[in-house]
Symmetry: D2
Subunit: 150 residues, 4 copies
């Protein structure tokens, strides 16, 4: 399992902005607020999605990799309240390559302060059979390069 | 223009539940609220959309009419604050048949009390040319029947 | 009515970016899309709200004017489809000062191209009596200055 | 720690409708869909929130318990695609009582079929000090009763 250990390394600290090279800014919306006067938790899931789509597009679509994938899990830790108006900066990082899936990690920052962290699992599948598939070699090379340098 | 006058009749009173035969109930969501503690105006547009899609599906898709249409206008009058939790009942009514478009009207009711009214215009178009098209005869008959009885 | 005519002038052309001095950029979200692959109409209402809140805050809160207001109407004309990802720039302009209300206008632009226009009416009211109130002199001066120069 | 073991028992199977006594139906919205033609993952977070708010209100507010709490974590497993229109039924269950927090579990069902499961952690706190607080005895008795019978 030394290969796996090497690939995963220690889990990166998602509360630190220095952990991330890929960033997606998202403008907070008035309608993201809830009756308590702060940004509602559901909106955070949309912020994470913005960064996840940008990360996966960068790894797959923008390099011409043709494969389907679905979202299997989203896990959000809420660390600080956030208030409208302004921008939340979402850092995204590939943190694990599985046999058929990838795990990505996110840090949400407001004016440099960490307000939430999140993880997400996407599974690759074959649209013809609707079954999950092992990550193809070409994509695995891209992912390993991202894991090492992204 | 007497034909048009006849088709349109007087504009129906959208603040009255008795105006509507077609109803779509929509559950209010905690995340629909805004920082003022009531349902945010943007959510009303989603409630109107629920009723509009149901109305148009009833007139078109469920009868096998194949035509594309786009949304050209939405106009919402906010009449009363609305609070979570609960259900908003949205009445929908075809109120005008144009040459290439239809106008629909909506009444939003909470526990029988009118909280908002809305109007909407949809334009029919040909996806091949991306140009608006006159309402085909088959559809016009369906619409005229709805206008008279719906 | 010459005073009124002077105040309102001709209705500004909301499809022209040159009409607007006040701008609010809003990032489009993946979740703003609908099943047709373009930005859903409901999201436009949130974009307009961003610009409306910014405009009203600039005129009221940021100048220490203490008055309550509610949203009475939103009216959106959808002119072009818009696609994720990217930013929509929303221009906002005060277009009419009534006795107890203001009318504001909006132009939504994507990469400089107008995709929608909107209008909105806000009514001022006294929270103690829950009744609408005439615009106080101090606020009226601010609004008239905005109407002339904003 | 046998007391704790007893309180938590085995983790209930959230994919089974029989696990739940508390249910919240939520109407799917047209605008919940994304560009892939199915319900977007962000909307699931709103469905879970509906059931979480209903559960916590049933345990706290409706019994006059005065305590503040915040949302610390939401974790959603997406198991099946879901399509508009229709209703999703969300089962909610208290699954763990901690010192200062509770863990709740959710099962989302569409026409009786499990489409997702979720967990959530809420932490109790004192609004005066903004610090987390141990669950008061009165509330702990309510929670233990819910854990045994809910």
């Amino acid at each position: 399992m030394s290969g796996d250990t090497k690939k995963e390394n220690a889990t990166p600290d998602l509360t630190q902005a220095a952990t991330f090279k890929r960033w997606t800014p998202v403008s907070l919306r008035f309608s993201d607020q809830d009756s308590l006067g702060h940004i509602n938790n559901v909106a955070y899931a949309a912020y994470v999605e913005q960064a996840r789509v940008a990360l996966i597009d960068a790894l797959l679509r923008n390099r011409g990799v043709e494969i389907d994938y679905l979202l299997a899990n989203v896990n959000i830790d809420y660390r600080r309240e956030m208030h409208y108006p302004g921008t939340v900066d979402v850092g995204a990082k590939l943190i694990k390559i599985g046999t058929k899936s990838i795990t990505t990690g996110y840090g949400l920052f407001r004016d440099g302060e960490n307000v939430a962290t999140a993880g997400s699992v996407n599974v690759f599948f074959d649209p013809k059979t609707s079954k999950s598939v092992a990550i193809p070699d070409e994509l695995r090379r891209i992912l390993e390069d991202e894991l090492a340098n992204g």
